[in-house]
Amino acid sequence: MPVKAIARTSIARNGVGAFVPSCHRVSIQYCNWGGSSTGLRQALKTGKIDKFAGETQYIFYEVTKKPGHPILKFHYSNDTVQEVSVANLKAEEILDKLDHYSQRSGNKLIKFNHKVMSVNDSVRGIWSPLHLPKTHRHKI
């Protein structure tokens, strides 16, 4: 055999070509009685969440009624679930939370100290001291 092949998988680059949002399911849990759910109940009653769901058609919203503090659960496509407590928040604040967390990718939050993250090889390659005429090389 001249060349053997090594099995590899291609690397996903979400956003090159098509972009598929990572947050695919949001569970909204509220209590019909508790005072901490007032804001969420209002958001549900006044149709604000309906409107937001209409704008973000790509997310599947689940509304459940359960005693306890209200919670938003964001399910991302990398199998992570982010729970956000929205107890005692106003309707607008809850919508902000919805808007913000649904735009995340579900990856762990990182502080990236560089500007660009690349999977490609450098176009120019690495500088080499040996590719100069011998007379021009650096001498120690």
């Binding site: 090159v16 070509g17 995340r104 990856n107 990236f112 690349s118």
Partner: protein, 176 residues
């Protein structure tokens, strides 16, 4: 269209996923399978129009069909060197942008292949290249706290810090 972002170098062109259309978006939003091709407007090249157009043919022939090509674009006067498929981490929330939006980056100072470089500080004329990015994620950096000692107060003051982060994916980089 361009003024809405109040940033030189970026132009919000298409909302692929947004069903509500912003006033900034062009009227023809194709909601079918994406890759809409917005026509680059002449707004950005107002300064660049006075520059004589460089001949980028050697660069193009050297770039292996735009595969070995890099660009340095500027955003808020900060340079970012990118190739196709790179992720750009912006340490702020890009105004007016939402996840899934397509951005046309039109302030490119440098284009380079393995052997040639074209560098114009005022910006290379926009009709010579196409640099597109999509907003992939709007998130935050990990939470941390900063302590400050204020005058005439014996205690340390705690400031919560959780800055925003916008991640762009370079969608398309090619010479036209």
């Amino acid at each position: 269209m361009f003024n809405s972002l109040k940033t030189r170098g970026v132009q919000l062109s298409v909302q692929a996923l947004r069903s509500r259309s912003l006033a900034t978006a062009p009227a023809s939003i194709s909601s079918s399978i994406p890759t809409p091709t917005p026509t680059p407007t002449a707004t950005a090249s107002s300064t660049a129009s006075s520059i004589p157009k460089p001949d980028l043919r050697p660069l193009k022939l050297n770039s292996n069909g735009s595969r070995d090509l890099y660009a340095i674009f500027k955003l808020h006067n900060m340079p970012y060197m990118v190739t196709r498929g790179d992720k750009v981490y912006l340490p702020f929330r890009l105004k007016g942008a939402r996840v899934g939006d397509s951005l046309l980056l039109n302030y490119v100072t440098t284009l380079g292949s393995p052997e040639y470089t074209c560098k114009i500080d005022e910006g290379i004329p926009t009709d010579l290249y196409k640099l597109k990015a999509s907003v992939v994620e709007i998130t935050r950096e990990p939470y941390y706290e900063v302590y400050r000692k204020k005058q005439r107060c014996r205690r340390l003051k705690t400031f919560p810090v959780e800055p925003y982060q916008t991640v762009l994916m370079i969608n398309e980089l090619k010479l036209t």
